[in-house]
Structures are given as C-alpha cells and as structure tokens.
C-alpha cells in the first residue's frame, strides 16, 4: 500500500510550509486558527494531516489552495512552491497554479458539485478554461478521465446530473475534475468521511492507484487513523493550530510520543478492543480566540506536567524523521507509560519498533 517510505531516494521537496500563522477576524475577536506550523511535502509521497475539527487542518489546505475566507489574516510565514511564496502572489498569478498545479478534492461530494449542471460540463469546464482546448477534444479527455476513475458507461453518464449519481460515484466525478489538468499536488480534504465503508475502501484504492500512475504528491486530511495507516507515508498530528507530532506512519503508530496522539489512538474502538470503557478525551478543544498559555492540550491531558501549563513545549527530536512537541520528552521529565490501548497497538509494531 502507501507505506513505501522514500528513504533511499533523494527527497525532493515540492512544497514547503514555514512558520505559517493565520488568524480570522470574527465578531468575538481574533481567532488564531493556525499558530505557526512547519512542514515539507516530498515529491511522490502521501502526507496525512490528522486532527479533530477546529485543529486547523482544513485551513492549512485552503491556505495552500489560496481559498482562504475574506476575514482571514496572514500573520507570518510562507508556503514555498516552485520558488514562489503562495501567500504573497497576486490572485491573477494564482489562477495559473490553482487547479492546474495544485488540485483539491473536497469533503462533501453532495455539495461540491453544481446540482444544475451536467457532470460532463463540470469536468470539461476546467479543461476549456485553463488548457484552452476545444470543446470536442475536451469531451474526449473527460470521457477518458471518467473511465480512469472507474465510472461505467461514461458516454451515458457524461450527460447526467449529479443527483443521478450515488455518493461514491459523485466523489469519483470530483476526483476526475481534480485530475483534469494534470496537477502535481493533490489535496484531499476528508474525501471519504461522507461515504460508506465499502465505498470508502474503493475511493482510497482509486486515489492510491492514481497517485502511483501519475506520481502525485498527496496531502491527505482526515480524522480516521485507520485511513492514515492505509494511505500515508508520513503523518502530521495537529492540535489547536499547531503540529504536535510528526513522523513516518510507522513511527506515529508504533512509537507515538505525544499524549494527544495516544489519546486519539486510544479513544476509538478498533476490532481488537476488549476493554469495558474507552479512554475518551475529556472536554472539548480549546477556544482559539484566547489560546491557552503553555501546551494547548494540557487541559485535557491526564499526563500534563506543571510546566505544560506555563511554557509551550518545543518540538523534541525522536529520530531523524520523527518529532513531537511534549515536555515528556525532556530529559528531566518523569517516565510515563502510554494507555493500554496504545501499548496494544505498539506491540503489533513489535520488531519494527526496536529498529
């Protein structure tokens, strides 16, 4: 699956986010949605961004796509792509990148398609506008794309409306639209959350297949850790607008270090869960209008130390590819054991963990 970590190959950074801070002006005050995140996307890899709603994963994706809402304020930082800073270039310039170089699949296939436009037109629209090819050849290309994403009888389906498609088929159309202009970065914002398990499996397989065929770099946003394990080469755990832990998928699952990652792994039952009660995360995520002092997760964290409430932890290095922002990794911190459910998952990693 997606776990071939690009270790030996030279890592080719295609997109680099540095110290990005974005806030929104709301009636209640200034909401700090992203509070300084850094990451790199390598060519041909799948990077998963995990977190609950409000952690800033979708805002990150929208910032990369240049689709931030009008009340957004870019405080600092940069998104470097092909030597330009995507946060600074004017809208006219962005037209050349959005859709043609960086494409996006949205969460809800029901609302991201135009209900009164035939799907064929929705696919060819971008081809005609951006690639400047004639309508007839755009149709041929669209039919090819529909075949590629696995829609049976594309000639017939081409002339149908979105309501005549099932959820999975609609998501396939959305993927076809995203692929139309041969983008090299694909951002998937929870593409399977609204779908059934079996359809989800099909869509994930489709994304993996297309990624391999076209050598795409994928940013995959989700809150389902099972999907992360399936799809990602590397994973980024976000909480309250910050990256709390990142590393390769194996490191995140078999050697997690941050209490929030532990809590995420332990809170949902998997097929091997036998405990009576789940280790639910108490409370709700903090309000980012007044972000808490110190570690944002400390209020819901049963492993919180005194220092967590006072000073924000820096990213501690675990290995070359694995970093976590928790004081527990400080040499002076007391040793704690992760919850049992996490230990169970770590055990499955077994030998991999020791390496």
């Amino acid at each position: 699956m997606g776990n071939q970590v690009i270790k030996n190959k030279e890592k080719d950074v295609i997109l680099k986010v540095e110290n990005l801070k974005i806030s929104f002006k709301t009636q209640q005050g200034i909401l700090h949605a992203i509070r300084g995140i850094d990451f790199e996307l390598y060519r041909g890899e799948t990077l998963a961004i995990v977190g609950e709603s409000g952690s800033g994963k979708s805002v990150t994706a929208r910032a990369i796509m240049g689709l931030l809402a009008g009340n957004a304020n870019h405080e600092s930082g940069s998104i470097m792509y092909q030597g330009q800073d995507l946060m600074l270039i004017p809208e006219e310039e962005f037209h050349r990148i959005r859709g043609t170089k960086i494409a996006m699949i949205f969460q809800d296939p029901m609302s991201s398609l135009n209900p009164i436009m035939r799907v064929g037109k929705q696919i060819t629209e971008t081809l005609v506008l951006k690639m400047k090819i004639s309508k007839a050849s755009a149709k041929q290309k669209a039919l090819e794309l529909m075949r590629e994403v696995g829609i049976p009888e594309p000639e017939k389906r081409y002339h149908q409306y979105p309501f005549q498609f099932s959820g999975g088929m609609r998501q396939r159309i959305v993927i076809a639209i995203a692929l139309a202009n041969n983008a090299e970065i694909l951002i998937c914002d929870e593409p399977t959350t609204a779908l059934d398990v079996t359809i989800q499996a099909q869509i994930l397989e489709l994304i993996n297949k297309i990624k391999k065929e076209r050598n795409l770099s994928v940013i995959f946003i989700t809150h389902d850790l099972g999907v992360v394990a399936n799809m990602a080469d590397r994973a980024l755990v976000m909480y309250a607008g910050k990256v709390v832990e990142y590393g390769t998928t194996n490191e995140i699952f078999y050697n997690p270090k941050h209490p929030y990652t532990w809590a995420l792994l332990a809170s949902m039952p998997n097929l091997d869960t036998t405990t009576d009660r789940l280790d639910a995360i108490p409370g709700t995520p903090p309000n980012l209008i007044n972000p808490p002092v110190g570690d944002a997760f400390s209020l819901r964290n049963k492993y919180a130390l005194q220092i967590d409430f006072e000073v924000e932890p820096p990213l501690f290095k675990v290995s070359d590819t694995h970093y976590a922002a928790t004081w527990l990794l400080h040499p002076d911190a007391p040793k704690v054991n992760p919850p049992k459910a996490v230990l169970d998952i770590m055990k499955k990693g077994g030998t991999l963990n020791e390496q």
């Binding site: 699956m1 809150h223 039952p269 991999l352």
Partner: protein
C-alpha cells in the same frame, strides 16, 4: 465480553419481536411509478438489557427499520411486538391471505363438480401453452429490435468516425498554423527591434561624422565662404542619408509586418546622412530567407497532414455503409420476425380453437351421460362452510391488526374489558348488601379504583410508546433551534400529560446531570452547544420518559473523533445504570463490535447474517459480511499493508430454483442462504 458488563441480559424476556417486517415505498409517477423494497421481510428478537446492532451500507434499510419500529412509518407487512403487544402490523399479508383463501375455495369447489373441473383443466392447459408462446413472441420482438437498432446505428457511427477524423485533422492543422504564426511573429518582432537598433546606431554615426567633418573643415585655414559652402553641402548629404535610412527602415518593417509601419514612423523622426542602408537591406534579406524557410517547413507539414488525413479518409470510407443495403437488411429482419410471429400466432389461434372444441365436446358428453358428471353438492357445502369460517377468522385478524396498528383497543379487547367491568359491578353490588355505611364506602372506593385501573389500561400512544425512544443521527438537525433545551427535553413529559412545572424542572435537571450537562444549560438554545453536547441533549430528550428501549440511529457518526468516545461511554454507562435495551444502528463495524452484544448485517432490505458480535467477527460466513469486514481500515500500518479487500458480487448467488431463507446454522448464528449454500457454509465451519 458480556460477562464484564454490569447489566445482564435476560434471555427469557423478549422486548421486541419483529416478524417478517416489510416496508415498501411507492415512488415516482406515471410510467416511472415503482415500488422500492426498503425492508424486505426481516425477523429478529431483542432481549431485555441487550444491545442489538444493525449494520449495513447506506440504503440497506437500517434506518427505515428503526423508524418503522418506532412508528414513524406504518409497516407494509409483518408484525412488530413490543413487550408482548403488537404495536405495528402491516396489512398487506392479511389481505393476501384472504385473497388466497378465496382462490383456494374456488378451486376446491370446482374439484367437486366434474364438468367444471374438466373445463377448468382444459382452460388452464391452454392458458399455460399460450403463455409460453407469448413469451416466445416477446423474445423475438426484443431480439429483432436490438438487431435493427444495431443496423440503424451504423450510419451514425460512420459519420461519428468521419467527424472524429475531421476534428483530429483540424485540431492538428490549427496547432501547426498556430505554431507557425508564433514563430513568424517572433522573427518579425526581433528583427524589427534589430532594425531599429541598427538605425539608431547608424544615425548616431552619421551625426557624429557630420560633426567631425564640420570640425575638420573649420580647422582648415580656408576662407569663410568656402567653409560655409562645404558645411552646407555636408548637411544636405546628411539629411539625404538620414531620409534614405528612414525609408529603408520603414521598408524593412513593412516587409516584416505592414501593420507596424505607422507606429514606427512616429518614432523615426530624425534625418541624417547614412551609410548603413546596405546592412538593413541585408538584414531584410536574411529575414525573408528565414520566413521562407519556416513557411516552407510548415507547408510541408501541412501537406503531410493533409495527405495523412486523405489516406485515413480513404481507409474510413471503405467501411461506408450502403444505405440501400442497410434498408434491405432491416426490412429482411423485420419480415423474418413478422413471419415467425405470424406462425406462433397461428399456433395460438389453433390452440384456442382446439380448446373451444374440446370444451364443447365435454359439454355434449355431459348432456349425453349426466350420470358421469354428477355434482357432489354436500361436499361443496362442506367446503363452503370450512372456508367461510377461515375467511372470517382472517378478516378478524385483519381488523385486529388495523386497530393495533393505530394503537387502539381492538373490539375483542373492548368486549373483554366491558365484560370485566360488568362482573366487577355485579360482585360489588352483591358485596355491599347489608354492610355498614363505612364498610360500604371502603368497598365503593376499592371498586372505583378497579374501574379506573381498567380504564387507564386502554392502550393509546402515550402509555404504549413512551417507553420506546429514539436518538437521532444528526444532533444539529434533530433539535429545534427555536426551543430552549428545557423545552426540548421536557416535551415528552408534556405530551404524556405531565403539567406540574416544578416536577418537570426537577426531572429535567436530573436528566441533564445524568448525561453530563449542568442545570444552567437548560435555559440555553441548541446553537450555543458543541456537537457532542447537542448529542447529549438528544440523549437526555430520549431518556426523560424513563424508557426501557432506545433506538439509537447512528448516534455518533456525525460527531468529532474525540467526542465519539465520550458519547459511547455515556451510552454504555446509561445502559448499565438504567438497564436499557438498545437497538444500535451504525455503519462503523469497529464501534458495533465494541458496543453490541448481537449484530445483524443488512443488505438491500434483508438480514443476511445475524450472530453474537464475537461469533460474527470470528466466523463471518456470508460473502457480504466478509467484504464489509475486509473494508474496515485499522490504525495499524502493517495490518493495512497486508489487508486485501474482498469484493462482494451479489450475482454469485443462484436463487432461481432453491429459495434462500434465514436459517440458524449454529446456535445463535443465523445466515441467509439456500440449502446448497448452507452445506457449503457448514463445511466452512467444520460441522457436518
């Protein structure tokens, strides 16, 4: 897992019995009118304090099942028994039964009448024969139509191919033309720039040289007049030269791009003598050559394209369908079909005539030998009596179901109640004879109590259904945004007839406490809460009437990850504390495995497999269950790397002859299969 939980399942007490439940929806109008079988005959039991899970994809009917049980819809067929009382019954089956009984009665009566029996048999035989033949006719018609359509589509296909070829040719040609234009543009642009640069340089040179010459002449010690004459001459030559240069430049530009001349004319204003004219000339020559080169190249490309296209056209037109030929073959096909159909229709007519003749014959025989065709009237009366009773019973059941469905007292129940009241009254009247006034008053009170109890036991919606509650999927859509939390939660109590506002407040506060909210939340509106808290309000609303049985319709699928675990924990706590029985509808198999005692897997309105959760995950038998299980992603990269998805293909089942049903393969493990499959599954499990 069950043993660890505090609440123990009572397997002797069935809370809910669902039998052969069907729910059909009629959709569409006119020709598109069709029946959607949302639930197609499912049966299951739910025991006291059990969590029963319904799993399936969207559209498999799990939500419809929940809603039919709580009577948001009326069932089409089947019965739902709740705590021993039928609360929902579909009438389709009852009506069907009455129809069948009438049909059977007719058949049995005919059996007793030899003449009618004979005629009936003859007619039946003719009917079945004609039916087969009619099928043949339909087959031929359909087949012919398909073939004719194929033939008819040929010209369109051909023109499509032609169009495609033309389109391809034109796109390529346009591409080439565009490229040529771009290249030519580039040349002329660069060369115009070069020419202007050169012009500017040369006029500078000319000017400088004029000045130099003037200086030189001035420096010569000759008389003033001569000097002036010489300078005058130099200046005129300069002007001439500059003019020549300008003209040359303009000519060059014109040769490159005539449209630009006027633009550059304005820029080129100075006039000075020139020496570089030849250079510009040369330059223009080079440009001309280049242009020629490019044009020649693209001319060749275009010619090649054209020739290729011609070749392709030739190739294509070889396959051009001949219209006359097509017409002929279509006519031939149609004629053939007509002939065949005619033959079959002749056969049908023949059969009809034969049957008619036979019937006539039989009738004549009956006239000739009346003894052989005696009608057994006594037997017929017996049959009639038998069926009269049966049909009356069936009608009684139908009537009863009709009342039960509306949760009303059935006539039977009413009769029983009135009788009971009568008895009580008699007993009371006998008792009070010769009693002291105090004793009589006591007796009267007791009697009135009894009567009130009886009257209260008349079933209605409030007292039958209030112990059954539902938690909905979407916590945002299922709460009225204009009502405060207290009103939302207490609505159930008010519907039941509770009017004491103090008691209501007390109960609301208590229930808010139970679900993990605080009493001061009661006066807020739903939008002031987060998703998890809203779902808690939904649960509180369900619990306020003290239910025994809760239908949880995907209560966590619309919630955030970190909140889902909180709600699951809350539900399992409540289950243990209040002894709830839960019907848990979900699509997330990991959650269902964790939370439920027994699980039913639904596929297109049918239960395909039902077992305890451990058994189902250990020994999944039905291919659909296997495919569902193989689709769940797990937070375990190694497992994920090795997981391969099983695809379920419903066409592997051959149910044409051997009809399937839900059978118990091992104790507690039900599977939807026919005999052949059952044997296979048994082999899989290793039992004989």
């Amino acid at each position: 897992m069950n043993s660890k939980k505090k609440s123990v399942i009572d397997y002797n007490h069935k809370v809910l019995e669902v039998r052969n439940l069907k729910q059909y929806f009629k959709v569409g109008v006119g020709n598109r009118r069709m029946t959607v079988k949302a639930i197609d005959g499912i049966s299951f039991d739910i025991y006291k304090r059990e969590v029963f899970g319904l799993v399936g994809e969207s559209g498999c009917g799990k939500t419809t099942t929940g809603r039919t049980i709580i009577k948001i819809y009326n069932a089409t067929d089947g019965t739902i028994k709740y705590n021993g009382r039928i609360i929902g019954a579909g009438l389709q089956g009852d009506k069907q039964r009455i129809r069948e009984l009438k049909q059977n009665r007719k058949l049995e009566i005919i059996q007793q009448n030899p003449l009618k029996k004979k005629i009936y048999e003859l007619k039946q035989k003719a009917k079945s024969d004609i039916h087969v033949l009619n099928d043949d006719i339909n087959k031929i018609r359909v087949q012919t139509e398909v073939e004719v359509n194929k033939l008819k589509a040929k010209p369109a296909e051909f023109s499509n191919v032609l169009e495609l070829a033309l389109h391809r040719y034109e796109t390529e040609k346009n591409q080439v033309l565009r490229e040529r234009k771009i290249k030519l543009d580039r040349i002329s642009e660069n060369d115009i720039k070069d020419a202007i640069n050169m012009y500017n340089k040369t006029i500078n040179v000319i000017k400088r040289k004029t000045v130099d010459k003037s200086k030189y002449i001035k420096s010569l010690q000759v008389n003033k007049e001569e000097i002036e004459e010489a300078i005058e001459e130099i200046k005129t030559t300069e002007v001439e030269n500059l003019n020549v240069a300008k003209e040359k430049l303009l000519k060059t530009i014109e040769s490159l791009d005539p449209k630009l001349v006027s633009v550059y004319e304005k820029q080129v204003t100075s006039n000075n003598p020139v020496k570089y004219v030849a250079h510009v000339d040369l330059k223009s020559e080079i440009v001309k050559n280049k242009i020629k080169e490019i044009e020649d190249y693209y001319e060749k490309v275009l010619v090649k394209l054209k020739s290729d296209y011609d070749v392709e056209l030739n190739e294509i037109s070889k396959n051009k369908p001949d219209k006359q030929e097509l017409k002929n073959s279509i006519n031939e096909l149609k004629a053939n079909a007509k002939q065949k159909i005619k033959a079959i229709q002749d056969k049908i007519n023949k059969i009809k005539q034969e049957t008619k003749a036979q019937i006539l014959q039989v009738k004549q025989d009956a006239k000739k030998e009346p003894n052989k065709f005696l009608v057994n009237q006594s037997e017929i009366d017996k049959v009639k009596n038998k069926y009269k009773k049966l049909i009356q019973e069936a009608k009684e059941v139908l009537r009863e179901h009709r009342y039960l469905n509306k949760i009303k007292e059935t006539p039977k129940e009413k009769r029983a109640r009135l009788q009971k009241m009568e008895e009580l009254k008699e007993a009371y009247q006998k008792k009070i004879v010769g009693l002291s006034p105090e004793a009589a008053a006591r007796e009267k009170e007791a009697y009135e109590n009894e009567i009130r109890k009886l009257n209260e036991s008349i079933p209605n919606y409030a007292n039958t259904m209030s112990t059954m509650q539902m938690v909905f999927q979407d916590p945002i859509a299922s709460l009225n945004p204009r009502m405060i939390v207290k009103d939302i939660i207490s609505e159930g109590l008010i519907v039941r007839g509770e009017r004491d506002s103090k008691l209501i407040n007390e109960k609301v506060n208590k229930i808010l406490d139970i679900v993990g909210l605080t009493p001061d939340h009661a006066t807020r509106y739903p939008h002031e809460f987060s998703g998890g808290q809203r779902q808690r309000i939904g649960i509180a609303r369900a619990l306020i009437t003290n239910p025994d049985f809760v239908i949880a319709d995907e209560p966590i699928s619309a919630l955030d990850v970190s909140i889902q675990a909180q709600i699951l924990n809350l539900l399992s706590d409540l289950k243990n504390e209040l002894g709830l029985t839960i019907l848990f509808i979900a699509h997330d198999l990991s959650v269902v495995k964790y939370f439920c005692d027994r699980i039913a897997v639904m596929y297109f309105g049918k239960i395909v497999e039902m077992a305890s959760s451990e058994e189902l995950f250990k020994n999944p038998l039905h291919p659909y269950t296997k495919s569902l299980l193989s689709a769940i992603p797990q937070p375990d990269p190694i497992y994920e790397a090795n997981r391969s998805r099983v695809v379920y293909n419903p066409s592997i089942h051959n149910y044409t002859i051997d009809k399937p049903e839900l059978v118990e393969i091992t104790p507690g493990h039900f599977i939807y299969a026919n005999n052949e499959e059952l044997a296979k599954y048994k082999e899989e499990l290793g039992i004989k």
